[in-house]
């Protein structure tokens, strides 16, 4: 396809539109979309954080209450132990241990921290020195429960702590508290979502509970989790765990400095968002490319192509080629505006074409008129200059004829020829002069018959031409310049005779013609009549016609019949009919011609009948 030349600083329509769609529609929409996804992701993470926090807080609370209850039981035993005799302490400890089933073992230590009593009973332990256990040494403060560091119990293989309480008379009560119960809860919690990993760590980062119980029993210190030991209670942090990033929430058990951690891999969280985001981007890209392609195609088809065609049409018109105008009708325009533009363009082209044709006609007419004006001036002065010598020559011939009455026939014949040629020359000069100057008609009232008779009198009708006249008696009078009308009729009769060199018949007729025979000509007649008459035209016409049976006039010649200097005669200068028309029109009438090649021609002079003239 051809292109429209590019102007500096301007862009193609399709590029402009695509840029607009890209920057003002697609990218803002995409940005809003991404922000929405990010927002939803953010809120989901917040919700998850809250959920994680609830989980770890409730777990921390459970741990705390487990320890607290142990403390209360131990406290109750201690209070009783402080007042009971030793033998009864054993029974009381045993019943309490059985009632609560809270502790694995309850020890009663003497002042030297040797095991005095323990439930359930184990021979090997009775009397053992427990003073070197560092946490036991701490339990010096009365009425306060000290909780030892957790350790893996050799008996149960599960994490265990000692709860130690000092007795006021000396000695201690120690409860061995199994922490295995947390493990079940952790496994239950982690199993709920299938994604979370809830763990409990002691103050040095050793696992106390973890979904994988093996790790707990192996006293694992997960380095990745230890970073969480120093995060504040209730914090949620993102950290690295075995090459994956996880979101971890932390709750602290203040009583012992342990932490409860809930972790979920970021990939599980972000996976669906990354997928959504990816799909969104791919779909957006697809939509955008499809939109771009479709738009460009539609633009090319419906806007750019018509515009290019219009542009080409304009270029063609500029160089005067109107042939492309019609092809514009074939433009496939789907838009009203383009349709209208194409219609307007077509209309403008037609008007321009018509105007240009009219302009050319007017120019031609102007040139012709100018030529005629020059011709008029020239013929006026030439005619004027020639008429006087011709008059002198005519007088001289006349005198010679008078003098040479006795001369021989040859002389008389030559004198006749001279006289005839002088008459011809005078007629031509008269035609020239008539053409050159518009003589104002000197109208008088005449009869049609008189006009015709006088004209016939001036013409020599050859013998081989049969003359017929049909002049009704009761014709209205005419008010015309008889000389001018005589000249017109003479001219027409002469032409008719000359059209029949081999003879024929000539018919001269007159009749009354009612007015408004031809509507379009009526106004013209009236207009022409007004300056030449002081009477109102009646609307009726007298038609005087001269009909011959000559060769007829061809259609081409018919068009140029009244043009100056057009003639088919060898001796004519082509002014006769022009002068006739001018004279008839000066007298308020008009000339009409009908002709058929090979059959003859009929000239009709229509002259207006004056109102009040009567018949």
């Amino acid at each position: 396809m051809n292109t429209i030349p590019r102007h500096r600083g301007s862009r193609d329509l399709s590029q402009l539109l695509l840029d607009l769609i890209l920057w003002r529609l697609f990218l803002p929409l995409l940005a809003v979309w991404l922000m929405a996804i990010a927002g939803v992701g953010f809120f989901c993470i917040k919700i998850l954080e809250n959920q994680q926090q609830r989980t770890v807080q409730s777990m921390a609370q459970m741990v705390d209450s487990h320890l607290e209850q142990g403390g209360r039981i131990l406290d109750a035993i201690s209070r009783v132990a402080e007042v009971l005799p030793e033998k009864d302490i054993d029974v009381f400890m045993d019943s309490t241990w059985k009632a609560y089933k809270h502790f694995e073992t309850i020890y009663y230590l003497d002042r030297n921290n040797r095991i005095k009593l323990l439930v359930p009973f184990d021979r090997n332990y009775v009397g053992l020195d427990m003073s070197r256990l560092s946490d036991i040494q701490q339990g010096v403060e009365k009425n306060r429960i000290v909780i030892s560091r957790p350790f893996i119990s050799l008996r149960t293989g599960e994490p265990t702590v000692y709860l130690i309480r000092q007795l006021s008379p000396g000695g201690r009560v120690v409860g061995e508290l199994n922490l295995g119960a947390f493990q079940d809860e952790i496994v239950r919690l982690s199993g709920l979502s299938g994604k979370d990993s809830v763990s409990i760590l002691d103050q040095s980062g050793t696992l106390l509970a973890h979904p994988d119980v093996k790790l707990v029993k192996q006293q694992t210190h997960p380095a990745a989790l230890k970073v969480l030991l120093h995060t504040p209670d209730g914090a949620t942090v993102v950290h690295k765990l075995a090459e994956t990033m996880v979101l971890g929430s932390v709750a602290k058990v203040d009583r012992v400095g342990w932490i409860v951690v809930d972790q979920i891999p970021i990939s599980i969280l972000l996976g669906p968002y990354a997928l959504t985001l990816g799909i969104t981007l791919i779909v957006s890209l697809g939509i955008w490319l499809a939109l771009m392609w479709n738009l460009r195609k539609k633009l090319d088809q419906n806007v750019v192509a018509p515009l290019v065609q219009l542009s080409q049409g304009t270029d063609a018109i500029a160089v005067g080629d109107f042939s492309q105008v019609d092809s514009l009708a074939l433009i496939p325009a789907a838009f009203n505006e383009i349709d209208t533009l194409a219609d307007d363009f077509r209309h403008m082209s037609k008007v321009l074409q018509a105007n240009q044709a009219a302009l050319l006609d007017a120019q031609e007419e102007l040139v012709r008129k100018e030529k005629l004006a020059i011709l008029g001036q020239l013929s006026g002065s030439v005619g004027h200059e020639l008429r006087n010598p011709l008059g002198v020559m005519n007088n001289a011939v006349y005198l010679l004829k008078m003098v040479l009455v006795e001369a021989d026939e040859t002389v008389k014949e030559y004198l006749g020829i001279i006289e005839k040629e002088i008459a011809n020359s005078r007629r031509i000069i008269n035609d020239l002069l008539d053409f050159a100057r518009n003589k104002i008609p000197q109208t008088i009232t005449v009869t049609v018959g008189a006009l015709i008779d006088e004209s016939l009198g001036r013409c020599a009708i050859p013998d081989n031409v049969a003359l017929q006249t049909e002049i009704p008696d009761a014709l209205p009078l005419l008010r015309v310049d008889p000389l001018q009308m005589g000249q017109v009729l003479t001219n027409l009769i002469t032409n008719a005779v000359q059209a029949m060199p081999k003879g024929g018949s000539m018919r001269i007729g007159a009749r009354k013609e009612p007015g408004t025979r031809s509507g379009e000509r009526d106004g013209e007649a009236k207009e022409l009549a007004s300056p030449t008459s002081d009477l109102e035209p009646s609307g009726d016409f007298i038609e005087i016609s001269v009909t011959d049976t000559g060769e007829g006039i061809s259609p081409e010649n018919m068009k140029k019949l009244f043009q100056p200097l057009f003639t088919t005669k060898a001796k004519g200068i082509g002014l006769g009919l022009v002068v006739c028309r001018n004279l008839v029109e000066a007298n308020g009438g008009r000339i009409e011609v009908e002709s058929e090649v090979g059959k003859g021609t009929r000239f009709a002079v229509l002259l207006p009948v004056r109102r009040g003239d009567g018949s």
Binding site: L22, H221, S284
Partner: protein
């Protein structure tokens, strides 16, 4: 039309979006494969303390090596398995570690499990580097077993000499845990041979299994009845502590001796006053003031909330010397054994050590005692020159 020419801004945006999408789906760039190192010891059960300490020591060393660039830029991935303190568990774990493609295995903690595991690792030509398996049974063998602990041959002999000559114990009773038979038999055999060669008499022996619940009082009463004036306990830390306490509780005041197996904090904590004055052969001088060791102790205490035992220290040294060997052979399994065998005068936490052609370590060992709830050195034995 300009249909063929892509709008430059369209192209740019398109490319940007494509890059975003591809970065989402291609994921992170590929990393160097880690160097996989296995660790296997008893981590759960009654004698897990040694294994846990060793694992902690190894873990500390690996973290330190990884944080300072790993092996030639590759990180060490430590795969920890629990041998459950049984020969079957040891074999299964070693098989699993070999399947996971480890270049070497650090372990096991106890001799019985080590001997079992070697039946898997030796045919597979995978190096097993034990931090604490010290049975004499494994000495002088040209195989894929190496260790950083002194074989107990000299140590047991040293302790026997000490008991007979210094402490003047003429009649000695022995109690031992049959569960770690390889170690116990090796130790007691070496000890007894030396002790008898010096003129001492073993008045009685009692075996028990830590796998079962044992009432120690009758055993101890029987040994005491053999008129022994000294008791050698070959058992784990906790068992040694209880046996010591039970001995004292039944009123037996004879001097107590034990092996390095029990040399942990647990022995002191659970032993109470009963272990005070107990003499033992030590693989490690736990009260050494060597700066590296003090630093190690402090870091261990900080990281694990308790003091390191000899197991932790030897575990740490095993991991460090293995990393040095791996560095030499480019992290591949093939050259590790040879690289380890070429270890000479390697800087340990307390003493330098070498590894001889049989994979046995050559390093000093110590005789110690428990004084005021702490380990104290009483003698230092200079090693043989490596062959």
């Amino acid at each position: 039309m300009r249909g063929q020419k892509l709008n430059p801004s369209c192209g740019l945006i398109g490319a940007g979006i494509l890059i975003c999408i591809s970065s989402f789906f291609l994921g992170s760039c590929t990393k160097d494969e880690p160097v996989r190192v296995g660790f296997c010891a008893e981590l759960t059960g009654k004698q897990a303390e040694l294994g846990v300490q060793e694992r902690n020591g190894v873990q500390m060393a690996v973290e330190k090596i990884n944080s300072s660039g790993g092996i030639g830029g590759r990180q060490i991935e430590l795969i920890v398995l629990d041998d459950l303190g049984t020969p079957e568990g040891a074999k299964a774990s070693d098989r699993e570690l070999i399947e996971k493609g480890v270049v070497a295995i650090i372990g096991h903690a106890t001799s019985a499990q080590t001997i079992a595991g070697l039946s898997i690792t030796n045919p597979a030509h995978v190096v097993m580097l034990s931090p604490t398996a010290s049975t004499a049974e494994l000495s002088g063998k040209d195989d894929y077993f190496l260790r950083v602990i002194q074989p107990l041959f000299e140590r047991a002999g040293g302790l026997a000499q000490h008991a007979y000559l210094r402490r003047g114990v003429q009649r000695l009773a022995v109690i031992y845990d049959t569960r770690n038979a390889a170690y116990v038999q090796s130790f007691s055999k070496t000890f007894v041979e030396k002790y008898r060669s010096l003129g001492g008499k073993v008045s009685g022996e009692a075996g028990y299994s830590s796998a079962k619940r044992t009432d120690f009082d009758p055993l101890l009463a029987k040994l005491r009845a053999s008129k022994a004036d000294g008791l050698l306990i070959i058992a784990s830390d906790n068992d040694t502590a209880i046996i010591a306490q039970r001995a004292r509780l039944i009123g037996w005041k004879a001097p107590l001796f034990t092996s390095a197996w029990a040399q942990t904090e647990t022995l002191i904590k659970n032993g109470g006053e009963a272990v005070e004055g107990m003499d033992l052969e030590q693989t490690y001088s736990l009260n050494s003031q060597a700066p590296d060791f003090l630093d190690f102790k402090a870091r261990y205490q900080q990281q694990f909330g308790r003091a390191p035992s000899f197991g932790a220290s030897l575990g740490y040294e095993a991991a460090v010397v293995l990393a040095a060997a791996l560095e030499k052979c480019g992290g591949k399994a093939e050259g590790v054994r040879q690289a380890l065998l070429e270890t000479r005068d390697f800087k340990g936490l307390v003493d330098n050590f070498s590894i001889d052609k049989y994979g046995d370590v050559v390093r000093p060992f110590y005789l110690g005692t428990i004084r005021d709830g702490k380990y104290a050195d009483i003698d230092r034995f200079i090693p043989r020159t490596p062959q």
